[in-house]
Symmetry: C2
Subunit: 149 residues, 2 copies
DNA sequence: ACGCATTTTCGGAATGATTCCTAATTAGAT
DNA sequence: ATCTAATTAGGAATCATTCCGAAAATGCGT
């Protein structure tokens, strides 16, 4: 395992990186980063807004989008578009596979080895991969036991 | 290789399946199915509209969406949401990997073996996969040679 | 601690893809 | 040829996201 990815570690790492790049650490951003660092549920922008308001009640949706966009541009979070309406944001930027439950909507990370290397793909096709997205859609342990609907 | 997937084959197979299920084969649908069957470029809904109008000039966007939704519900095409605005539609519903070019936007299919079995995932996680989506983002052969920007 | 330049925030308006609605049309069965 | 249910067209509605401009706040230098 390369990083220990505890919430505290992750949070202070993010804050340090932003400070180094000269971003201002406003109370709004502190709240957003804090909640993202401790969240593996892949929240949507409105989820982020709702939770950020517990600390900063007057934060606006525009601010949430502005902050998420900044984190995204800096490569500190990953944005995922799914088959539902809203995008989801993932603090786990390492290559991994998402397991998306079709019943409850939960998104788990599957951290096993990614079984296909960019080099192999480029060798066979000439296409040079720089990023990836692997997902399985199905039913999580809880939902598959309760019946799919 | 399991199916020969020539355009003609694919088109008549789609039409047969729809007829069997009792769908009406209108001129609008014939045009849409014809163009999708011969298209591996993963067109968006507005691409489909534009090309369908060559055969059926008065076809409306609502009709295109209605037809795409029907094909999708019947499992005859696959809808993909990407990081651009519009969804894309893929006539290739077998499991495969998409190679998405960040410069020209082209989406190629990579038909090699999918290197991770649903059974393996379920064994390790309890999650039961039913569908998948694997993508690499990068630069296609043409774009990588011309420089990325 | 204070002022300043720049970034960030906020609220609302604009955008744009998709969905919804309703009346008119049409395919396919009888 | 008639009938009925499905389909179409066009426009309105929706909803996430982006854009805009004015006000506020950060963090720098002094």
């Amino acid at each position: 395992m390369r990083h220990s990815t505890g919430q505290k570690d992750r949070e202070s790492r993010l804050l340090r990186q932003l400070r180094e790049k000269g971003y201002k650490l406003t109370s709004q951003r502190l709240a957003i980063i804090h909640l993202l660092a401790g969240d593996t549920s892949h929240p949507s922008a409105s989820d982020v807004l709702k939770r950020a308001r517990k600390r900063v009640p007057k934060i606006s949706m525009s601010t949430v989008y502005y902050a998420l966009d900044m984190l995204k541009r800096e490569g500190l979070i990953r944005e995922l578009e799914f088959y539902e309406k809203e995008n989801r944001y993932d603090i786990n930027i390492s290559d991994h596979i998402n397991l998306v439950c079709r019943k409850c909507g939960k998104i788990e990370d599957f951290m096993g080895e990614v079984p296909l290397s960019p080099t192999e793909v480029e060798g066979k096709t000439g296409f040079r991969p720089e990023g990836m997205r692997f997902e399985f859609y199905g039913y999580c342990r809880a939902c598959k036991n309760r019946g799919k609907r």
